[in-house]
Amino acid sequence: MIRLFFALLLTAQMASAQDFTTDAFGILPTAQLGDRENWAGLQQSSNGGETLRTAGRTEAVILFVGPKSIVAGREPGHAVALGLDVHGNMVSGTQADVQLGYGPVIPVDTLDGIAGVLFTPPPQSGAFLAGVEIDGVQSARADYRVSADLATVLPQFANSEMSVLSETFGVIETAPLTDAYGNSVDDGVGLSIVLTDESDTTTFVPSVVRDGAARSVLLVRDMAGTNTGQLALAGTGSGGLGFVVDDMVIEDAGAFVFWAEPAINAVRIRLGPLATSKGYLVPDGIAAQVDVVAADGTGSSVQGWVLDGYVTIGLLLSPDAGPFEVSLTVGKTQVDRRVDLSPPPENLTIRGAE
C-alpha cells in the first residue's frame, strides 16, 4: 500500500510539473508546441519564463492586385503586399517597393507586415504586371487589366443605311466601340440589335464585340421591306439604322400542273419553275401559300414550300371537281390561274416537298 501511495504521489508530482506555454493563440503543453514555438509574439511559460519573439528576415513576398479588371479612368486599384519570414511571420517595419507596371516605383512602409497601395491607373486600357520587393526579396508577379469604361461607350452602326437580299446572310457592323478615353471595348462584350419594319414586326439580334467592334451576321428570313434598327450596349442606345431587305419578286411562275390521284380520290399539283428577277429560281425553303377553289365550290388552302424551284403539294379535292382556280402567293407576289386536269409531268420525282 505504501509503495502504491508513493507511486501515486510521484505520478501526481510529475503531472503538476508539466510545462505549459501561453501565446496569443491559446495555451498548449510546451512539449507539443512544434512549429508554433517559432510564431512571433509574446510567449509565457508556466514556469515563469517569458519570451518575445519577433519575425525574422523577409524570406517571401506575396502580392495581390485587384480588381481583375479596373475601369479606365475612374476606378482605383488596390495592391497589397505581404512580407513573411521563414516561419510565416509577418515582417514589420520594412519598406516595400511596389511596381505597378507603369510609372515609378512606389515605396511603402509595411505595417504589421502588410503594405497596401491604392492607385489609379492611367486611363489607357491594357494588361499590366505588378511586382513588389521587400528586403531585396521579390514577389511573384501579379496581373491586372485596365478595361474600357463601358458606361462612356456610345455605340453607333458603321453605316446608317444598308440593303440585303432576301434569304441571305446580311452583316450588320458597328463603328469601332471606344470609351471616353479612346479605349476599345474588350472582346466578348454583348450588344443587342432590334430591327423594326413598317408593320411593327421586330427582329432581335444578339451581337458580340470582336476586335473593338460588333459584327452581327443575320440570316434575313421572315423579314421584308425597310427596317429601322437600334443598337444597345447595356443602357446606352445608338442612332437609327435603315436596313432594307429586298423582297423576292417572281417574274415567271412557270406551269401550273394538276393531275389526278385516282387511288385516293385526290389531286396533286406542281407549280413552277418559279423564276425571279435576279436570274435564279426562288430559293429552296421559301414558304408558298396555295389556295385552290374547284368549280363545284369546294376548296383547299395549303402552305407548301419551294424545292428546286417548284411547289408540289397534294390536295383533298376530287379530280372531277375541276377546273380549279389557283392562287399562289410567294413573298409579296401573287399569281392567279385557272387550271384543268392534265397528265402528270413526265419524269416527275416527288421529293416530299409538301
Binding site: G66, V71, S192, F204, G237, L316, S318
Partner: protein, 1027 residues
C-alpha cells in the same frame, strides 16, 4: 398411424430428396446468381448497407445518402453478414455467398416446415419444389431481396421448435424458438411479424390438433378442454417471448421508427394496382411468382376442405386473395389503411411458400401414391411420366425464364463501371461536395458503395428525411423522369437549389436530363470513360468540415452492433447442433398423425373421364383464345390506330416499323425518310418521351383522312404539346400515313465563316503541387440587380426583376430570393439568363411554388403539368429580398441565334409572342431558350418568363417560337424589393455600365394593355446528344 418401417423409409427418402433439392439450388441458383444479381432491383442496396457496416461496424450514421441517415432504419443481419465476409471476399462475392446461404436455409426450412404437415418424402418433394419455385427465383434473380430469402429461411427452420414447445413443452424448445425468432428479426423484422400470423397461427392450430390426438382424455370434468390449457399457456408464453425478441433484437430500429416517424408520401407500388388494367404489373407481381404453382390451387382447396391441412390451406387462400392487389376490393377491405403502405406481392410470395407442403404431398401422391396409381390405371405409365415430368419441366422453365427476364427485357441500364466516377470524386477534392446520379437505375447504390463521397439522393426511400424528397412520391431523384411532372419538379428543386444541398456534380447516364441541367445553370464538364457525362454547378458552397449527424446513445449502438449478430450466431449454433444430434435429420423427430386418405378410390374409368373432360375443356378454351387472338391480329387497323402506332414507333426509335406505316405508293426510299427523322432533333425529338397522342379529324373522304394530331411530350423541362397535320390514305384495304416533309427552311450558303470569342478560365488547371492558389482566383464579376418586385400571379408568388452583367468579363449568375412569409431561400431556375456576356441583361423570376405531389387532392393521382399548389406560408408575404453572386463564366455563351419576325399580339388570355428563331452562327443550336422580361407602364419590370424552341436549329436553319404571357391585370405587385435588401457578391452593388432602361434594347409593346416594353435574352444549349 403408419407402420414404423414405412416411416423410416419415408424419412430416408425425404432426406435424400432434400439433398437433391440443395444440390439443385446450388447448381441452378448458384450458377445463375453471378449473372443475374447485377440486374436486380435491390441487390446493390444491400451491398451498400453491407459496405457501410464493413467501413464501421458500430457507427450507425451513414452520411453518403440523403445528406445522412441512420442505418438503424433497416435490420442489419444480412448486411453484417456481408460486411463480415468482406474481410475475405469482394463485395459482390460476399453478397452472393450470403444470398446462397439464405437459399440453402430456405430449402432446408421448407423441408422442416413441411415435415410438420406431411410425410417426410412429401416434404422432400416440397424442398425440390422450393428450389424450382418461380416466386423464389423471382425474389432472388429479379428483385434481389436478400433479407426476405435469408430471414424466411431462418424463420422456417425455427418453426419445428415452436410446434414442439406447444405440443411437448421443454425449455430447450422454447429457447430455440425464441432464438430463431430473434435471428429472423435480425435479418428482416417483417418476416417475423407477418410470419407470426401467416405461418405460426396455422402451425399452432396444427399443434393443438396434435395435442388433441396425442394426449389422452382424463377422467376429470372438462378434461377435453383442460388438456389444451398447458399448450395454450405455452403458446402464450412463446408469443410474449417472441414479441420480446422482436423488440429487443432490433430495439434501435423501433426507437428510430417511433422517434423519427416517417411523414412522407407513400410510394406507389405496382403490387397495389389492378392487374387486369395493368397486365404488365400483373405479370410481375402475380403471374410470374405463382407460375406453375397456381395449378395446385384446386388441390389446395380440396385438401383444405377434406384434411387436417385446412389451417395451412386457409392461410394460402387468404394470402392468394391479398396478393391480387387492387384487382378486387377485397384486399383493401381486409387491410384498410395498411393497403397503401404494404407491398402486396409479399403475400403472393408467402402464399407460394405456404403451398409447398401441398405440392410435395401431391407430387408424392403422383409418384408413390393413390393418384399416381389411378393415373396409371386410366392412361398407362407414360401418362404419369408425362404429367410429373411436364410439371417439373414447366416449373424449371418458368424459374429460368424469370431469372433471365432482365436479359430479355432489361429493367436496368447496362452495367456502368463505377471506377471512373469513384476516381473523379476522389480527385481534386471533389468529394468536398455532394453528387447526384441520373439514369443509373439501382446501380447507383453500387457506385455509392465504392466511394466515400456523399449524394443527396439515395436508394432506400424509408430513410429519406429531406422535405423536398419526402413530400413527393419520388422514390429516388435518380429515376424522376418515370414519375412525370411531380418527379421532375422534385428533381428541379434540387438542381436549382444545389447550393442549399452542397450539390456540385451530376453524373448523367441519360441525355433526357440535359435540358433541365443546362437551363438550371449546370455546365457539362466532360464524358468519362464509362460513357457517363459529368455536369458541374459552379459557385456551390462546399460541405462544412463538421457536418450534422445524429448519433445514437452508446448503448443503442452497442446493441445494434452485437445483438443481431449474436442472435444469428446462436441460431446457427442451434441449427448445427440439432442437425448433428438428429443424425442430420435421419431420425424422425416426433410421431404425428399424418394426412390420410379417408376412402379408397379405385375407378380408372372415372379418372379417365374426368381427365379427358378437363383436357377437352382446356383445348376448347385454347382454341377460343387462339381464334380471338388471330382475329385481333388480322383486324384492319383503323386510321387512328395507324397514326398512334406510327408516332409510338418513332418515339421508341423503331424506324423500320414506322416506315412500314408510310404510304407505299408515295413514300420515298427508307434512307431518305430516315434522313428526315435524323435531321429533326431538339427538345422534343431528342429529349422528349411521348406520353399521349390525340387525334382530331379535319377532313375525310373514303380513301383519305386528314387529322390534326396533338402529341404530348414529357421533357425534362415540362410537358409540351406538338400539333401536326397528318394525312392517312387507304391502300388495298389498309390505312397508311402520307409521307411527311422535311423542314421547310434551307441554309442559304454552302460555306459559312464565323469568328467567335471564346474564354479559357484557367482556375486550378495549373501544373502546381498546391490544390489551390489564392493567386488563381478571379474576383467576382460585377452584376447589378435592377428594380425587383414580389409579384403574385394566380396565387403564385414570385420575385421578378432583371440582372445585368456590368463587368468586362462574362458572368455566371446565381440568384436567390427570400420572402418574409417563407423561411426557405429559393433559387432562380430556368427563368434566368444565368450566363451573361459583359453588358448583357436578362430577366429572372424566382418562384416560391411548391410542386404538386400525386397525393395532393388536386392531382387525383394523375400527372398534370398545369396543376400546382401554393407554397406553405406562415402569413401573407409583405416583403422580399434578393441575393446574387457571380463567377467568371467561360462556356455555354453561344449567341448565334436571333429572333426574326417577332410579333406580340393581345389575346383574351394575354399577350402572345410569335417569332422565328434563326441560327446565324456555325454551331448546332440544340435547344434555344428565350427569357423575356416585360415592363409595366411605369417602365419597371413586372413579369419574366422563359420560352423554348421545340426543335433543334442547324446553322442557317430556323424554327418557330411561341410564348404566352399573363395579362397585366392578372399580376399583383405585393411589394417592391427595397434596394438595401438587394445584396450582390456579399456587398452593395456597383455598376461599370449604364444600367438598362425599358427604352433601350427593348421591343415596344404598343396596344398591349398594361405593358410598355419587352426585353429579350436568347441563350442556347449547343451540344447534341446524337453526336
Amino acid at each position: 398411424m403408419r407402420p414404423c418401417s414405412d416411416l423410416n423409409s419415408q424419412t430416408s427418402d425425404g432426406l435424400r430428396l432434400l439433398f437433391v433439392a440443395l444440390a439443385g439450388a446450388l447448381l441452378f441458383h448458384g450458377g445463375l446468381l453471378p449473372f443475374t444479381h447485377g440486374n436486380t432491383y435491390d441487390a446493390f442496396i444491400h451491398m451498400f448497407f453491407g459496405d457501410s457496416y464493413h467501413r464501421s461496424w458500430f457507427d450507425t450514421w451513414e452520411p453518403r445518402w440523403y445528406t445522412g441517415f441512420s442505418t438503424t432504419s433497416y435490420p442489419p443481419g444480412t448486411h453484417m453478414a456481408i460486411a463480415a465476409l468482406m474481410h475475405v471476399l469482394p463485395l459482390r462475392a460476399a453478397f452472393m455467398v450470403v444470398q446462397l446461404l439464405g437459399l440453402f436455409l430456405l430449402v432446408i426450412g421448407v423441408y422442416r416446415f413441411s415435415l410438420l404437415w406431411v410425410m417426410p418424402r412429401a416434404a422432400g418433394y416440397a424442398a425440390i419444389a422450393a428450389t424450382l419455385a418461380s416466386s423464389i427465383s423471382e425474389t432472388i434473380h429479379l428483385f434481389g431481396q436478400l433479407p426476405t430469402i435469408f430471414s424466411l429461411g431462418i424463420f422456417l427452420n425455427g418453426l419445428p421448435f415452436v410446434y414442439r414447445w406447444i405440443v411437448y413443452g421443454r425449455m430447450w424448445n422454447l429457447f430455440a424458438a425464441v432464438v430463431f425468432a430473434a435471428a429472423t428479426t435480425a435479418a428482416h423484422h417483417v418476416t417475423t411479424i407477418f410470419g407470426g400470423v401467416l405461418f405460426v397461427i396455422p402451425l399452432a392450430l396444427q399443434a393443438l390438433r396434435s395435442v388433441h390426438e396425442i394426449v389422452p382424455l382424463g377422467p376429470y370434468r372438462f378434461s377435453g378442454l383442460r388438456r389444451f390449457l398447458m399448450p395454450l399457456a405455452r403458446g402464450l408464453v412463446l408469443a410474449c417471448l417472441m414479441l420480446g425478441a422482436i423488440v429487443v433484437t432490433v430495439l434501435p430500429y423501433w426507437i428510430w421508427s417511433i422517434s423519427d416517424p416517417i411523414t412522407q408520401v407513400p410510394i406507389p407500388h405496382g403490387s397495389r394496382e389492378n392487374f387486369i388494367e395493368r397486365p404488365d404489373l400483373g405479370l410481375i407481381f402475380f403471374v410470374l411468382p405463382w407460375g406453375v404453382t397456381i395449378l395446385f390451387l384446386p388441390f389446395v382447396i380440396y385438401k383444405t376442405l377434406t384434411t387436417r391441412l385446412w389451417p395451412l390451406g386457409a392461410m394460402v387462400l387468404i394470402c392468394f386473395v391479398l396478393g391480387t392487389g387492387g384487382t378486387t376490393p377485397i384486399p383493401r377491405a381486409i387491410l384498410g389503411g395498411a393497403f397503401d403502405i404494404l407491398t402486396l406481392d409479399r403475400f403472393t410470395f408467402w402464399a407460394t411458400i405456404l403451398v409447398l407442403p401441398f405440392m410435395g404431398h401431391m407430387i408424392d401422391g403422383l409418384l408413390h401414391g393413390r393418384s399416381g396409381q389411378s393415373l396409371i390405371a386410366a392412361f398407362g405409365r407414360g401418362a404419369r411420366r408425362f404429367v410429373v415430368g411436364g410439371l417439373f419441366a414447366s416449373m424449371t422453365a418458368v424459374a429460368v425464364f424469370i431469372a433471365i427476364l432482365p436479359t430479355i427485357q432489361p429493367t436496368q441500364p447496362q452495367f456502368i463501371d463505377p471506377a471512373p466516377i469513384v476516381k473523379f470524386m476522389s480527385e481534386d477534392e471533389h468529394d468536398r461536395w455532394r453528387y447526384l446520379t441520373l439514369g443509373f437505375g439501382d446501380q447507383f447504390a453500387y457506385l455509392a458503395a465504392q466511394t466515400t463521397a456523399q449524394s443527396v439522393d439515395g436508394n432506400y426511400h424509408s430513410a429519406r428525411r429531406l422535405p423536398d424528397m419526402t413530400r413527393f412520391s419520388v422514390e429516388r431523384l435518380e429515376n424522376s423522369k418515370y414519375l412525370g411532372v411531380p418527379g421532375l419538379g422534385s428533381l428541379q428543386q434540387f438542381l436549382e437549389n444545389a447550393d442549399r444541398y452542397h450539390l456540385k456534380f451530376v453524373f448523367s447516364n441519360d441525355a433526357f436530363y440535359d435540358p433541365i441541367l443546362h437551363f438550371s445553370g449546370w455546365t457539362r464538364l466532360n464524358r468519362l470513360s464509362n460513357g457517363v457525362t459529368v455536369w458541374e454547378r459552379p459557385d456551390v458552397v462546399p460541405l462544412p468540415v463538421l457536418q450534422p449527424r445524429r448519433s445514437l446513445p452508446e448503448t443503442q449502438r452497442f446493441m445494434w452492433g452485437t445483438v443481431p449478430p449474436l442472435a444469428l450466431g446462436l441460431a446457427a449454433l442451434i441449427f448445427v447442433m440439432t442437425g448433428l444430434n438428429r443424425g442430420l435429420g435421419a431420425h424422425q423427430m416426433e410421431p404425428r398423425p399424418l394426412v390420410a386418405a379417408r376412402t379408397r378410390f379405385d375407378n380408372p374409368n372415372r379418372v379417365r373421364l374426368i381427365v379427358i373432360g378437363l383436357g377437352l375443356c382446356a383445348i376448347a378454351l385454347g382454341t377460343w383464345f387462339a381464334v380471338a387472338l388471330s382475329k385481333e391480329l388480322s383486324r384492319t387497323p383503323a386510321p387512328e390506330d395507324v397514326v398512334t402506332a406510327y408516332f409510338d414507333d418513332l418515339d421508341f426509335r423503331r424506324f423500320e416499323d414506322a416506315y412500314a406505316l408510310i404510304d407505299p405508293e408515295t413514300r420515298p426510299p427508307f434512307d431518305d425518310v430516315m434522313f428526315g427523322w435524323r435531321w429533326r432533333g431538339g427538345l422534343i425529338a431528342s429529349y422528349g418521351k411521348l406520353t399521349e397522342t390525340r387525334l382530331t379529324l379535319l377532313d375525310s373522304s373514303p380513301a383519305i383522312m386528314d387529322w390534326e394530331v396533338s402529341l404530348d411530350w414529357l421533357t425534362a423541362l415540362s410537358i409540351r404539346t406538338e400539333v401536326l397535320p397528318v394525312r392517312t390514305v387507304l391502300r388495298d384495304g389498309q390505312w397508311f400515313i402520307a409521307p411527311t416533309s422535311l423542314p421547310a427552311t434551307q441554309t442559304p450558303v454552302r460555306l459559312q465563316r464565323d469568328t467567335s470569342v471564346v474564354w479559357n478560365v484557367v482556375g486550378r488547371r495549373q501544373p502546381r503541387p498546391e490544390t489551390d492558389l489564392h493567386r488563381d482566383r478571379l474576383d467576382r464579376p460585377r452584376i447589378v440587380l435592377g428594380q425587383a418586385r414580389l409579384v403574385e400571379h394566380e396565387g403564385h408568388y414570385s420575385i421578378v426583376g432583371e440582372v445585368t452583367n456590368s463587368d468586362n468579363d462574362p458572368a455566371y449568375v446565381s440568384l436567390f430570393g427570400e420572402m418574409d412569409a417563407k423561411l426557405t431561400r429559393q433559387a432562380a431556375g430556368v427563368v434566368n439568363g444565368q450566363r451573361l456576356l459583359p453588358a448583357e441583361t436578362s430577366g429572372y423570376r424566382i418562384d416560391f411554388d411548391d410542386v404538386l405531389s400525386l397525393q395532393d387532392a388536386e392531382a387525383m393521382g394523375q400527372f398534370d403539368p398545369t396543376l400546382w399548389i401554393p407554397p406553405t406560408l406562415d402569413a401573407a408575404p409583405t416583403q422580399a429580398l434578393v441575393t446574387g453572386r457571380a463567377l467568371v463564366a467561360g462556356a455555354d455563351l453561344y449567341r448565334g441565334v436571333s429572333l426574326n419576325g417577332i410579333r406580340v399580339d393581345m389575346t383574351d388570355d394575354g399577350p402572345v409572342l410569335t417569332a422565328t428563331a434563326v441560327n446565324n452562327g456555325v454551331e448546332s443550336a440544340t435547344i434555344v431558350r428565350v427569357v423575356a422580361v416585360l415592363y409595366d407602364t411605369d417602365d419597371d419590370a413586372i413579369w419574366s418568363q422563359a420560352g423554348f424552341v421545340e426543335t433543334n436549329i442547324y446553322p442557317g436553319q430556323s424554327a418557330p417560337l411561341r410564348m404566352e404571357f399573363p395579362s397585366r391585370a392578372d399580376l399583383r405587385i405585393v411589394a417592391e424589393v427595397q434596394p438595401d435588401t438587394i445584396i450582390v457578391n456579399g456587398s452593395t452593388q456597383q455598376a461599370d455600365t449604364v444600367l438598362p432602361s425599358s427604352e433601350i434594347g427593348t421591343i415596344p409593346l404598343e396596344g398591349i394593355t398594361g405593358y410598355s416594353a419587352m426585353r429579350l435574352h436568347v441563350s442556347t444549349m449547343t451540344h447534341d446528344p446524337l453526336e
